[in-house]
């Protein structure tokens, strides 16, 4: 990639070299602050992160089970206008995801209208027949969504991926802000940065709003984690702490008389809402994978009896895989009768023979992704891969075309980043978090910016060596 240097959209600097308004003060500060000060503060940030134990685990890496995600101390800035447009688009998108899920598990009008093919629902391995005709409280399926967006020009946001199952990363959004406030208080005097620390309150309000109608006026909310060996465990405990609710594992809960209880030092206590950070497959060994040690036997029957709310609902996977992604603009139009505010990246569905042919012919120019992959695992970046890798990947695609989609390599926007060579532009994406409750949709301004730290790289996933930045939405 680095050999050809196309004109990427840089969020700070216009092509003519001038500084965009939102970055004016920051650019000045970057010009004047000595490099060793930046260096020192970066080390300080790393020290603090390690100390509070904000770590994540990398699967398939036995040597280092706990690692830090590199943190870049230069914030990424969005102005109010950009954010307003983005947040309207996010709300629209998540509303459509919820409407689609409700329809897919109930009347299936979208199939009758011929908007999406049947296999997209029924042929999907994460489709849950248990959810057919099952009402969920207030018809909300996705209470917590993480929508990955990227920019390629000043005017448009593209959605790269919807995450409607158990999106993670919000703890980094919150901790990054804490660190920035601690390390660079002077910057916040010049910049009216919209706060994010109301996220925990918003999340709790959202979760309480979707409690079963049968529960008390002050429902008991818990967070369910697979345990300390999960890569996002830090986040689970962080959220439980911020929400002031119990962090439970499957073994802490049991089912009795169609109700769900947790074991406490004072005896059993009823649970009304579970913010579960455990995949469908593992939540109930009686309903799904019988070998799961992480779940609660009988949880699904309590859920189906309407006595507990799961956030997110069971079966949301059919709305966020990369195959349904390509239909999202039509899905939005179908349910909301609106034009999509956020664009979709052009997507080739390998399931369709002519598109498969195009993909195989142009595979060296495309990004090819597994439909059910996530976290940057199992994808091919054509322009950056060698011939052998490409051939091997092409063979995989040919063997199972349904399992793949392809997209053109996007010229992701860049932001100034503090790296070995000094301050240099690096590619970024953004994951804002969208909360949907009975009363309203809540989005804290910003989200998690991920940055590809090596020069020219477009892969921002933390499991693949990406870092994070604080994201500022200016309130002006």
């Amino acid at each position: 990639m680095s050999s050809r240097t196309p004109s990427f959209f840089d969020e700070m600097r216009s092509p003519d070299g001038s500084i965009r308004p939102a970055y004016r003060q920051l650019a000045h500060w970057l010009d004047t602050v000595p490099k060793d000060v930046l260096d020192y503060r970066r080390k300080e940030a790393e020290f603090i992160f390690r100390r509070i134990g904000i770590t994540f685990a990398v699967y398939g890496d036995t040597a280092a089970t706990e690692r830090l995600i590199p943190f870049d101390i230069i914030p990424r800035i969005l102005n109010r206008g950009e954010w307003q447009k983005l947040s309207r688009g996010l709300e629209q998108r998540v509303k459509a995801l919820n409407a689609y899920l409700h329809d897919a598990y109930n009347k299936r009008e979208i199939l009758r209208a011929g908007i999406v093919p049947e296999e997209l629902i029924f042929g999907n391995p994460v489709f849950r027949p248990e959810m057919n005709g099952q009402r969920v409280p207030h018809d909300i399926y996705v209470m917590i969504a993480g929508i990955d967006v990227v920019r390629v020009d000043p005017d448009n946001f593209y959605v790269l991926e919807d995450n409607a199952r158990v999106p993670s990363g919000v703890s980094y959004m919150l901790e990054n802000r804490e660190i920035m406030l601690r390390l660079f208080p002077e910057l916040f005097i010049d910049h009216p940065v919209a706060p994010v620390d109301n996220y925990a309150d918003d999340l709790l309000a959202t979760l309480k709003s979707v409690a079963p109608t049968s529960s008390s006026s002050d429902p008991t909310v818990v967070i369910m984690t697979p345990g300390i060996f999960n890569s996002a465990y830090y986040e689970h405990s962080f959220l439980a702490d911020k929400l002031g609710c119990e962090l439970v594992e499957g073994r802490d809960m049991f089912v009795k008389g169609d109700m769900l209880y947790m074991r406490t030092t004072e005896g059993p206590k009823r649970i009304d809402v579970i913010y579960r950070r455990v995949d469908d497959d593992f939540i109930d060994p009686l309903a799904f994978r019988p070998d799961s040690m992480l779940g609660v036997p009988g949880l699904m029957s309590v859920y189906q009896a309407g006595n507990v709310t799961l956030a997110n609902a069971v079966g949301t996977g059919i709305a966020d895989d990369k195959a349904v992604y390509s239909y999202m603009p039509d899905i939005i139009k179908f349910y909301l009768g609106e034009e999509p505010i956020l664009k979709n990246v052009e997507t080739y569905r390998c399931r369709e023979p002519d598109q498969l042919k195009y993909v195989l012919d142009n595979i060296d120019k495309l990004v090819v992704k597994e439909v059910h992959g996530s976290g940057g695992y199992g994808m091919l970046i054509g322009p950056a891969a060698d011939k052998k890798t490409i051939e091997a990947f092409a063979a995989k695609v040919k063997a199972m075309p349904d399992g793949f989609i392809a997209q053109p390599t996007l010229a992701l926007s860049t932001c100034p980043t503090f790296v070995e060579e000094g301050i240099a532009p690096r590619h970024v994406d953004l994951r804002p978090f969208v909360l949907t409750g009975r009363d309203k949709v809540r989005i804290v301004p910003g989200g998690l910016t991920r940055v590809a730290l090596s020069k020219g790289s477009l892969v921002v996933n933390s499991s693949q060596g990406g870092g994070t930045k604080d994201t500022w939405v200016l309130d002006r």
Binding site: I52, G53, G227, I228, S237, L247, T265, E266
Partner: protein, 313 residues
């Protein structure tokens, strides 16, 4: 509070306390082994360290002989020994991670920093001097953890479970230290209180860091029955069985009041406390110190199990 959270808090402080006890035992053993021949007893100090740690059988499976190298390795660093200092601190941190939300930031920091520090010591290359530093580090970790709990935790069930774990472990360790020394040193009447034992008894005081306390309390040279009195019955002495039980009782009562009901744990703890409050050291020696301690270890274990059954599962 979740039973698992309570359990993790309880075991977290037990393991931190256990690590400290082991460090003290090792420290005292090093001192003793450094004495010229003739000052110590005929028995091997390193054997008695293993006995005090309560792992004779598993140790013998792995090593032929107890000496400085093997005992240090097994008690401090071995991954095969579930209660080695290293494993204690590893387990403590795992427990701490599981209950992050129930710990204060300061407590987490104490455990997490210790865990990072632990990985700086290379057991294969450690020198004597470094090992002394290592033992100091372990003792400081425990003091820091304990201090942060005391200073920062809310006085509610989380705090009481954490205290209970610490106290049950501490009572167990004090009793074992006494028992092993008694058993090893004083099986024959003629030697009881003999001049050669002086350093052995002094080493007991060292292993519970009570030399100065002893002199303040008794203002006498070191005598076996007074050492036993200090460690069993004296409520001023925070490591004594009586003091541990005074507090176990108190925290169990706090729990009972908080939750509005009591059970087996409270009853058993009260019975054990009564025995200690009414005990006289002359009677204990008369009917057999070893028998007394053996019974205490059984009672203490029962209290631990009752706490487990009542609250932690």
């Amino acid at each position: 509070m979740l039973s698992r959270t309570a359990s993790n808090l309880y075991w977290l402080s037990r393991y931190v306390e256990r690590a400290e006890c082991l460090a003290r035992i090792l420290d005292a053993t090093y001192r003793l082994s450094a004495l010229p021949q003739g000052y110590g007893s005929e028995t091997n100090e390193w054997d008695s360290a293993i006995a005090t740690a309560g792992c004779v059988i598993s140790f013998k499976e792995k090593y032929e002989e107890a000496n400085e190298r093997t005992v240090t390795e097994y008690l401090a660093f071995s991954l095969d020994n579930p209660s080695s200092i290293r494993n204690c601190l590893e387990i403590a941190r795992t427990n701490a991670r599981s209950v992050r939300t129930a710990l204060t930031g300061e407590m987490w920091d104490a455990i997490n920093s210790a865990w990072h520090e632990l990985h700086r010591y290379d057991p294969k290359r450690i020198t004597r001097e470094e090992f002394t530093r290592f033992l100091n580090f372990v003792m400081e970790t425990s003091v820091r953890f304990d201090g942060t709990s005391f200073r920062t935790m809310l006085r509610n069930d989380a705090y009481w479970f954490s205290r209970l774990g610490f106290l049950v472990e501490r009572a167990d360790a004090t009793a074992r230290i006494l028992d092993v020394k008694y058993h090893v040193l004083l099986p024959r009447e003629a030697q009881v209180g003999g001049p050669l034992d002086y350093f052995q008894w002094a080493s007991i005081l060292r292993s519970v860091s009570a030399r100065t306390s002893y002199h303040w309390v008794y203002r006498e040279s070191v005598k076996p029955w007074l050492v036993a009195d200090l460690l069993i019955l004296n409520r001023q002495m925070p490591r004594s069985l009586a003091s541990c039980y005074e507090n176990i009782n108190r925290y169990l009562d706090d729990l009972a009041q908080f939750y509005g009901r009591q059970g087996q744990a409270q009853r058993l703890a009260r019975a054990t406390t009564n025995k200690l409050e009414n005990g006289k050291i002359e009677d204990i020696f008369q009917s057999g110190l070893h028998e007394f301690i053996t019974q205490f270890l059984i009672d203490n274990n029962r209290v631990g199990n009752a706490i487990g059954d009542q609250y932690l599962i």
